[in-house]
């Protein structure tokens, strides 16, 4: 409730509406079997488990094949894994294929690297890898895996981490890049056998050793996946056995078969190591012909189709687990063709419905809004949002393709875009998300304020005039720009070293079979896909806008303090500088549709875009980079170790997770927030995606009258070019209650800056952050 603001008369009544808030996030699986499957999956996720079969097989095979090319060895190991991994099917599951030999356990990807991930989110799980990796595996791989070889080739860069150090590992070194969507259209037409035949046909007569190595590796791994499917057919019973046997090589002919085949391929990609943030193509479009044929033949009704969709969603959830971190699996439905035709179909509805019924934090469900979206479908999605609290998330066809086309993507391909990961974009089989540099405006502001030293000292050469000599706001902005350029340059250099290592030791021949042109060119996807769009990740955009606005107002317009004062105050976390902090806080804040920020917003975009365009080029084909907003848990985690900032934010408190507003400064309601976002240039400055969080009270979405108004508002936002939107449908009272009685709210899912999580699993700090984000 808005204490301290005038209440409209109707608000004054609110008790009727507030009396019975819909409890969001309650699971309602459509069959008892699915309920059992859901319980079984969740029950196995209570602690990070590590599965070792894959690492053992890889060690054995690699030791025995020292003379062969790396990718061939990898494929041989993968095939051996598929031939030997113990199989299981969870109760209630109608889709076969699991990530490892143990329910709820993630395979150790020994050939990539060791190390823990995600324990900063769940500190109580720090050290979960300790003692779990047999010494012979660690000994063999520590100098031979991707990470070990990277460290050897790049002295001075961080070296390999031992499994017992309990240290955090950058995810790129313990998984392949991920953030992709394979293209499954051809697979559904010709089956695994057909793909294998294509590889063999291409291989016939090939003499080039590199090409032969790729094709041999592709062949090996495809055979391994077929063998794996066939093994399932031997342990399964009835229809499930028949389906697994069929899709082991043949193309599917029914909805269930098609779904099973996609799952085998998708799961195998995960096992190969590309499972991070992997979306299974436009699944509603791909499965539609099978659904329609089955319905026509009387083999399938909507209840059965819904149950299978729910089963698929559950499989994706089962697949998300990697230590304490979710792997942000996602499904994207709906969207339009380049000429504006609506591609939403019956299955788009069923996947949204199924997702809402299961109330899980993963997989993420996305829809693509477009001007001709069926408003009934849009209303249905918003209604389900009230039930599920955060899904579906939304991308806008009116904004995303423009940005991609600006980077050289054809119109047709740009309209085929898909959501992957937290808020990344990809094109199935043509282009996947890959960060290649980072633009940290907050650090640049700090350096400009401290003449290059930083609050904690230790900065190197000053790249601009000392702070005391920056006499105009423009000169200050230029100084920020100089430090930002330097940061982009350095992170670009580092990321390209990683990319180079990945091109060599991070190849994935199986996944490559689902990327356009890899088989024809006999070349792994790591060496280039149809479009190679790397991204420069920007962080904490809203804080940067607020900082520059506050400095302009307080230092340069009102002249109430100097840059040196501001730096001293930030360093001291504003202790003894309370009045200065209040002045900085009183400056205009992004997210409130404040016209005084109209020039600051493009300035912050420009400060990054200009150097980024000059510096960043893909080393493989010289393609331009796109810009992306990086979120994940960074807002809270980075906030924890970031000193006070000139926007008045205190040390240790969260930074902005959404590009729309810094934590807790939005005061003017959702229309003002969305107007603020529309001042950003999505097509030029955020080609690879940004992220906007909007919190709405549950009653806004659960009640049809309110929901119509919300829908109207969102139509305006998207029509005006808003690129992305995520809504948290939340009742603040409910969150407080969940904090007090976590036991009663185990099912409550919230979206935390880029990923979603069960609310009760978040640290108290993150819970507070969610509550503090102003509810409307």
């Amino acid at each position: 409730m808005r204490h301290g603001r005038p209440f409209s008369r109707r608000e004054f009544l609110l008790s009727a509406a507030a009396a019975g808030p819909v409890f969001a996030g309650v699971a309602r699986p459509s069959t008892p079997a699915l309920g059992e499957l859901r319980r079984d999956i969740l029950a196995s996720m209570d602690y990070p488990r590590v599965a070792l079969h894959r690492a053992r097989v890889f060690t054995r095979v690699f030791q025995a094949t020292e003379d062969k090319p790396w990718e061939v060895r990898k494929a041989m190991a993968l095939r051996e894994h598929f031939r030997t991994v113990p199989l299981y099917l969870r109760p209630g599951d109608s889709i076969a294929g699991s990530i490892s030999e143990t329910p709820g356990a993630m395979s150790l990807m020994a050939e990539l690297g060791f190390g823990e991930i995600g324990t900063d989110m769940n500190p109580q799980w720090r050290g979960y890898l300790k003692g779990k990796v047999p010494p012979e595996i660690w000994q063999y791989w520590k100098t031979r895996n991707l990470w070990g070889r990277f460290a050897a080739a790049n002295p001075g860069q961080r070296g390999p981490i031992s499994p017992d150090s309990g240290q955090q590992a950058p995810y790129k070194f313990i998984s392949n890049q991920g953030h992709l969507s394979p293209s499954y259209g051809e697979l559904l037409k010709i089956g695994l056998g057909g793909v294998l035949k294509r590889v063999r046909d291409r291989k016939a007569g090939e003499r080039d050793p590199d090409k032969l190595a790729f094709l041999t590796a592709a062949e090996e791994s495809l055979r391994g996946v077929s063998e794996w499917a066939r093994r399932y057919s031997e342990v399964l019973k009835g229809d499930l056995a028949r389906i697994a046997a069929k899709v082991a090589t043949e193309p599917p002919s029914t909805f269930h078969e098609a779904m099973q085949l996609i799952w085998f391929a998708h799961q195998a990609i995960h096992i190969e190591g590309h499972g991070w943030s992997c979306a299974p193509d436009h699944i509603d479009r791909l499965l539609l012909p099978f659904y329609e044929a089955d319905k026509k033949a009387g083999r399938l009704n909507d209840a059965q189709a819904l149950a299978l969709c729910e089963n698929f969603v559950l499989k994706m959830h089962d697949n998300t687990y990697w230590g304490p971190l979710e792997l942000t699996q996602g499904l994207c439905v709906g969207g339009s063709t380049p000429d504006g035709q609506d591609l939403t179909n019956r299955l788009s509805w069923l996947f949204i419905e199924g997702g809402a019924n299961l109330a899980l934090p993963e997989p993420l469900l996305w829809i693509r809004w477009h001007p001709r979206i069926d408003q009934k479908f849009f209303d249905f999605c918003l209604g389900r949002l009230a039930q599920h609290t955060c899904f579906p998330l939304m991308w806008n066809d009116k904004a995303v393709p423009d940005g991609l086309m600006g980077l050289g993507v054809s119109r047709e391909d740009a309209y085929n875009y898909i959501a992957v990961g937290c808020n990344e974009l990809a094109i199935p089989g043509q282009c996947y998300f890959n960060p290649g540099a980072t633009a940290n405006s907050m650090r640049a502001i700090e350096l400009a304020l401290t003449s290059g030293k930083g609050y904690r000292g230790g900065g190197k050469n000053p790249l601009a005039s000392p702070a005391a000599e920056l006499a105009t706001f423009d000169s200050f902005a230029a100084a920020v720009g100089a430090y930002l350029r330097d940061g982009i340059e350095r992170t670009y250099r580092d990321d390209m070293l990683v990319l180079k290592a990945t091109m060599e030791w991070g190849r994935t021949p199986f996944t490559s079979c689902f990327f356009d042109g890899c088989i024809e060119r006999a070349r792994d996807m790591a060496l280039g896909t149809k479009y190679n769009i790397l991204s420069c990740g920007g962080v904490f955009f809203a804080n940067a806008v607020d900082c520059l606005a506050a400095i302009r107002e307080v230092v340069y317009q009102r002249r109430e303090a100097t840059l040196v004062d501001v730096a001293a105050a930030c360093k001291a976390n504003f202790q003894g500088h309370e009045r200065l902090r209040a002045k900085l806080l009183a400056a205009p804040k992004h997210g409130n549709d404040d016209p005084r920020l109209d020039d600051i917003i493009p300035l912050v975009e420009r400060l990054r875009d200009t150097p980024m365009k000059e510096i960043c080029r893909d080393p493989r084909d010289g393609a331009r980079f796109g810009n992306v907003h990086i979120t994940k848990a960074a807002a809270v985690l980075t906030g924890r170790v970031t000193l006070a900032t000139p926007d008045g934010r205190l040390a240790g408190t969260p930074l902005a997770s959404s590009v729309a507003a810094s934590a807790g400064v939005e005061r003017s309601g959702p229309t003002a927030l969305l107007n603020s976002v529309c001042k950003m240039n999505a097509a030029k400055s955020w080609q690879s995606g940004y992220q906007v969080n909007l919190r709405l009270q549950n009653v806004m979405l659960a009640n049809q009258g309110n929901r119509d108004k919300v829908r109207a508002m969102l139509n305006v936002y998207f029509n005006q070019g808003g690129q992305e939107l995520q809504i948290n449908s939340i009742d603040t009272e409910m969150l407080r209650a969940a904090q007090k009685n976590p036991g009663q709210y185990r099912d409550l899912v919230v979206r935390v800056a880029g990923f979603s999580e069960f609310f009760v699993n978040l640290t108290p700090e993150m819970q507070d952050e969610i509550i503090a984000r102003t509810a409307h």
Binding site: M1, H3, G4, R5, P6, F7, S8, R9, R10, E11, F12, L13, L14, S15, A16, A17, A19, G20, E578, R579, R581, A582, K583, L585, A586, D593, S668, G669, P670, T671, A672, N675, M700, G705, N706, D708, K709, A712, M713, N715, V716, N719, Q720, H776
Partner: protein
């Protein structure tokens, strides 16, 4: 043309159709005991004190010529309302905004600028601008000018009013008002006088005239336990609605205690007994159902209270 306002609230969705921006005008001739916007009553700016925001810098102590301000043991500001003259000298020195003047003078253009920023949302949702308060007709000329400006910009306009005003004032804004959200607070004339400090006869007369003049009116009835939440009053609502065939309908607004924290900020005495609680959902449903049985067209009734629920 200037007037006194105390807030502009965007994305108001409970006061008229669609997405709206509500402009709160300051000043009100009534003194309803359950008033939820006490800062809207007096025409002059009011000093709001939020001790929680105070950082104890003492800047205001020096600024106050009346010696009305002091710090308490926990270094938070306290005010002696008996001394404060609402001169407005202290808020400018209080950076954390623990002290704030609520209410300001604004021109029509200054009000319309933020209102017009949400134009696209109004267009898409059938929304517009709502005048509220206080009592908008306490500043009839200003209210009229705002409505005209909104109309000129093509916005739908609504006015929340207690109806306690000169007929001439109502009549003058009538052509520029698409919807009246008209309060009906108490049927019994004596009780009305006791609860609001004013008689209800002129309010009822204005209501009839407005209806006769063809205005679109939604009758809004605050339901306050221990005050007007009685069968006789519900009967009165039904009777009045029955006499006004072109009324859009009746909306019951159930009491909520959310205003009480604001009373403290402005130093107003609490006039509602602690015993008065917000009615539960069941009671609200029953009131609605009772009126529905009497043939009253209800707007925004809770589900289950009436078989068919209309919207304005």
């Amino acid at each position: 043309m200037t007037g006194r306002i105390f807030d502009i609230q965007r994305f108001s969705i409970h006061d008229g159709p669609g997405i709206r921006t509500t402009v709160f005008l300051k000043g009100c001739p009534l003194r309803c005991k359950w008033c939820h916007n006490p800062e809207g009553i007096g025409p002059e700016p009011q000093l709001s004190v939020m001790a929680a925001k105070c950082v104890g810098c003492k800047a205001c102590l020096a600024a106050c010529k009346e010696g009305a301000l002091a710090l308490n043991g926990s270094q938070k500001v306290v005010i002696d309302r008996a001394r404060c003259t609402s001169c407005g000298d202290c808020p400018p020195v209080c950076d954390p905004k623990a002290l704030e003047m609520v209410g300001r003078t604004a021109t029509v253009d200054e009000v319309m600028a933020p209102v017009l920023r949400d134009r696209e949302y109004y267009r898409a949702s059938g929304g517009g601008m709502t005048l509220s308060g206080g009592e908008p007709l306490f500043q009839p000329a200003f209210a009229g000018a705002l409505l005209k400006a909104a109309r000129a910009a093509g916005l739908h306009t609504a006015v929340e009013t207690s109806g306690f005003a000169e007929w001439a004032a109502l009549d003058q804004i009538r052509p520029d008002t698409d919807l009246f959200l008209y309060d009906y607070k108490e049927t019994d004339p004596h009780l009305h006088q006791a609860f609001t400090g004013q008689p209800n006869a002129p309010i009822l007369e204005n209501l009839r005239k407005l209806h006769a003049a063809g205005a679109r009116i939604l009758l809004r009835c605050p339901m306050i336990p221990e005050f007007n939440a009685r069968k006789e009053h519900l009967d009165g609502i039904a009777r009045t609605a029955g006499e006004l065939p072109r009324l859009i309908g009746v909306e019951l607004l159930a009491y909520h205690r959310l205003g009480s924290s604001k009373l403290r900020r402005f130093g107003f005495p609490t006039r509602m007994p602690e015993s008065v609680k917000s009615p539960d959902a069941e009671a609200v449903r029953e009131w609605n159902a009772y009126l529905a049985r009497k043939g009253v067209r209800l707007v925004n009734a809770p589900p289950g209270a009436v078989s068919k629920v209309a919207g304005p």
